[in-house]
Amino acid sequence: MIREKTKRAICGILALCGMLTVLSGCHGSKGLKPFALPDTFDETKPFSITFWAKNDTNKTQTEIYQQAIDGFESLYPNITVNIRLYTNYGDIYNDVITNISTGTTPNVCITYPDHIATYLTGTNIVAPLDDLFADEAYGLGGSQLRFDGVTQQEIVPKFLEECAIDGVHYAIPFMRSTEACYVNKTYVEALGYTLPDTLTWDFIWEVSEAAMAKGEDGNFLINGQNVLIPFIYKSTDNMMIQMLQQLDGGYSTEDGEILLFNDTTKSLLYTIAEHGETRAFSTFKISSYPANFLNAGQCIFAIDSTAGATWMGTDAPLSDISEDKLVDFETAVLPVPQFDPEHPQMISQGPSVCVFNKTDPQEVLASWLFAQYLLTDEIQLSYAQTEGYIPVTTKAQNSSAYQEYLSHSGEDNTTHYEVKIQASQLLLDHIEDTFVTPVFNGSASLRDAAGQLIENVVKSVRRGEAVDEGYMSDLYDDVISLYRLDQIGETASGKADLGPLPVTAVVLLASLGVVWCLMLLYLVWQRIKRKKSK
């Protein structure tokens, strides 16, 4: 099922990161010439560009991509766009890295800035976009565009900022989401609690533990079933990152120094372990999708992306569980829990689009035109409505069509599904409260490590292992080693001290030298022999 593929993709990232580092390190990184913006776009020359796109296993999204391509091709008949669909970022990342080594990257690609940081270890692999943004003819809102493009000022500044690495923009945002806590409000109130406007971690832990009470029949009192996991988190990497951000606990510096393995993290892990042990808390990787449990009345607090909102709630348009398992309840959509509810902080996530450099600058320009076309109102609005995403341009956000869409919240359980629109509204209301983690070569691995800490701790307490100082020390060592975090600084600088060559290598290199000398001597000897015979 989906789980296997997602996990495989994550594992692949580790291997491929290493591979890319080795390739870029060993081959002197000749790479491509820097992209130079042509004066004009050649509209007589045919271009065939590839677009690697990600959808949330959502057919409507794939149809929107196709509509975007059709619309673009009708405006630019000399450009053909070939789409390749993916259902997770990890697979795109793996394939891009594999194709960097063979010079067959796509032209345009849905991506995360974390991933671009790894792509940038190659030379001129990704096109920097700042010159393209500013170009009067073909830049953002440029005069020669055949569509109503957005200006740079019309892209939400916070989202555009997320696409810059070391001050250079290597991507444009495409959609944005955050995480939401989808709450079974009915059960919370049945337990005697009132939902606050902003959840706190203490509130969630307290209600979750209260929900674990069982009746004489062994079933949970709150749902009358023998299954209940009051609190399930889908992305434990986000969980740890947001907790640390809210506590200013240290995750990494902008320069890539890793701060994750600190005492605040340890303290958080002890708390998580406590609730993992009582089974009041679990994770997607350990138990399954939060939505499946929520909709079956087996979960009270389900934290998942706002881009997963169409799966949440009794009337969710998408569901993996059979109808007879669905339970009637009121769903509340709230920001992720906070340590300081007066100053909420939540992750900003969602797809961005990068353009890969090619030997022909005209091909890059064609790719840029398509990437920019994805920011037009029609595509932004239609894609944002497929899930709890929001458009990344103020132009689309403020359009009457989008405002109209939001205003019809709850009028049906399809396009205007209430939970989905509430999820979008949550992000619209909190754009300024969002954050992203620093991007550097290795930041994707650090993110995985943050989640792994939680997964390991929860698994361990479920298995009756003691989670104490000794355990934590070993856990830190294991996770650092698993994600090769001790090598991040070295590979980033390219000055790792690999130590002396092994004896076998020295012997073999010496042998090679001797053989080359013998071959040269043979050639000289042959030449002398030929001269003599003349």
């Binding site: 296997e4 296993t57 057919k59 993996d320 298995r463 290598a505 080359w516």
Partner: protein, 252 residues
Amino acid sequence: MKKCLALILSVCTMALMLVGCNSTTSSSAAVSSSAAADTDVKSEGVMTYEEYVAAELDSQVVIETYVQAKQSWWEDKATVYTQDKDGAYFLYDMACSQEDYEKLTPGTKIKVTGYKAEWSGEVEIVDATFEILEGNYIAEPIDVTDMLGKDELIDYQNQFVSFTGMTVEDSGDGAAFLYSWDGSGSDGDDLYFNVSVDGQTYVFTVESYLCDNTTDVYQAVKNLKVGDVVDMEGFLYWYEGVNPHITSLTVK
């Protein structure tokens, strides 16, 4: 002389590459010389299938079982369908070198130590290690068509089973199958198709890691038409209910 030097050079270059690439030594599973080839007999300290079923979730389990099919290997982790005479065990992301993965041919007996877990109804063994033992067993498929929709079907979870005389139903817009669960995928992705018996419809899957788009079953499903009556074999996987991973399909 030229040939000789070229040969020496090639040998040296190859040796250098080997030294450069194989910086880690591959771990090889110990091939135990257990004489217990009989599928009924468990070694000391090994659970029977009955004991495995009774074991609590998250507890450590030690079993002996036989490989029936391999789903995937990645980064020293293997996912394997296994079965003994009494029942089946799904091994998810078991620690396994690529070298050992090649040894896990159908029928191979293995001793597995791991933790019992459940994911969306699928009971499996996770975080496992294994060793190869002597012995061989290939399970014959059990026809479970009559058990579809009945509680006892779960007793056969993960086993190699067969289904006979099921009718292909519309998967949406008249399609006999979908790439990915809602048709959002493309060739190479999992195939989903609906089949019915006795008025009840079930979702079956061709799991693309188990049977990719070069396999007969993948092609057979792509050629299905609504209304076809089919016989199938596969593994009785679970995802929020029964969700067989089909390995062969014949249109009647």
